[in-house]
């Protein structure tokens, strides 16, 4: 049961949604901002996987949450207590639509103009890029190469496996281990040497 008196930080997603539902514009600005803060990263994550483009994922997060808040205010969300499912469903719908538009745009661009790569995403300001670079340097050569090939050169595991002369399973195991070490290094968590990671 949602707690009507919970503070914003303590309020559940369900409580926030119920407060916004049917509210007058401007009366629940704080709740809307909190809902946005909580769900934008999730929609962005979804968008990155399905749209394969950081800028498009950022746009998707904005569009989905603007629409969600508008629907909530208008009383058009049937079950505000299941707001997570509503936002995921909206993300799926809008990403699908975006993919169609992108395909059309790319087809037109291929015909009429040269396209350029998207720029660095806006939401990286909180991550220390020089520190990440140092952590990447600290990885074992093979681990770093697999990370670079996956998340920079955008190669899939079977292709990397072919290049490195190992199995796809080994590539994934190397990648898991490398990303764990990278995350721990960036966050200043336990030294990779002390971790008990499975060897590929």
């Amino acid at each position: 049961m949602p707690d009507a008196h919970a503070t914003l930080a303590d309020a559940s997603d369900e409580t926030l949604a119920l407060r916004i539902a049917g509210s007058v514009a401007g009366s629940t600005d704080d709740e809307e901002a909190e809902l946005y803060r909580r769900f934008a990263p999730r929609v962005r994550l979804y968008g990155r996987r399905h749209l394969r483009n950081d800028a498009a994922a950022d746009d998707l997060a904005q569009d989905v949450l603007l629409l969600t808040i508008g629907r909530l205010r208008a009383g058009e969300v049937r079950k505000p207590e299941e707001i997570g499912s509503f936002i995921l469903g909206t993300s799926r719908m809008m990403a699908h639509s975006e993919r169609r538009v992108t395909r059309r745009r790319e087809a037109l661009a291929a015909r009429f103009m040269q396209t350029t790569e998207d720029t660095a995403p806006s939401s990286l300001s909180s991550l220390d890029v020089p520190r990440l670079a140092a952590c990447l340097r600290a990885l074992a050569e093979r681990d770093r190469l697999v990370v670079l090939l996956t998340f920079y050169a955008e190669r899939e595991a079977p292709r990397i496996a072919e290049d490195l002369g190992v199995s796809s399973g080994a590539v994934r195991a190397i990648r898991h281990r490398a990303m764990t070490r990278l995350r721990d290094c960036v966050l200043g968590e336990p030294s990779p040497a002390n971790r008990q990671d499975p060897q590929p």
Binding site: R42, E117, V129, P130, A133, R137
Partner: protein, 191 residues
């Protein structure tokens, strides 16, 4: 270290999800959970930020080591200024970086047959200054590519750098080749 109450989604799954290599059903299950679990959403967002920062970090050209053409091609697409030198065994190559170069790539040619991995050592005046061991991969085609930050090269005095490649295969070591970079300092473009 932060401890989250729910850790239903393993980091390995987040890694495969981010790489786009999870089966649709598994990816959908992760999405369903992330949209209903604040703990896992926070972990997923933190991991996503890490993945998103990797390209920016690589573009900063501070990451050297053994790379492949796939990485070099992406760097070129990203507009990173790469100075490339192709060195055959025994080569002595005048080497300099321009003031706006960001990365130096050495294409080191040699006989890598039967080599599982190689060690590259760099020596200045007979003293080894760096040693790196990496894989010889299937796409090597008789060369390995080694990247060095141009900023690091610019700091070197005018000096000869000896590069030596050694192959390792089933516990056996074999010298592949030596190369000499005659470092002439940093070059400035006239305006």
């Amino acid at each position: 270290m932060t401890t989250n109450a729910c850790e239903r989604i393993a980091l390995a799954d987040l890694t495969d999800y981010a790489a786009g290599e999870l089966a649709e059903a598994d990816a959908a299950a992760i999405e369903e959970h992330v949209f209903s679990c604040p703990d896992c959403a926070a972990r997923a967002a933190q991991f996503d930020a890490l993945v998103r920062a990797i390209p920016a970090s690589v573009r900063s050209a501070e990451i050297g080591g053994f790379i492949t053409d796939a990485v070099l091609n992406r760097l070129a697409r990203d507009g990173v200024r790469v100075r490339t030198f192709v060195l055959s065994p025994g080569a002595m190559v005048p080497c300099a970086v321009w003031d706006d170069d960001e990365l130096m790539a050495l294409r080191l040619r040699g006989d890598f047959s039967n080599a599982g991995e190689v060690t590259l050592s760099q020596s200045v005046g007979g003293t080894e200054v760096s040693r790196t061991t990496g894989e010889v991969h299937g796409g090597s085609h008789g060369e390995v590519i080694y990247a060095i930050s141009a900023a690091w090269v610019r700091q070197l005095p005018v000096v000869d750098v000896d590069v030596r490649l050694t192959a390792h295969d089933r516990g056996q070591e074999r010298a592949i080749a030596s190369y000499r970079l005659v470092h002439g300092g940093s070059l400035q473009r006239s305006s």
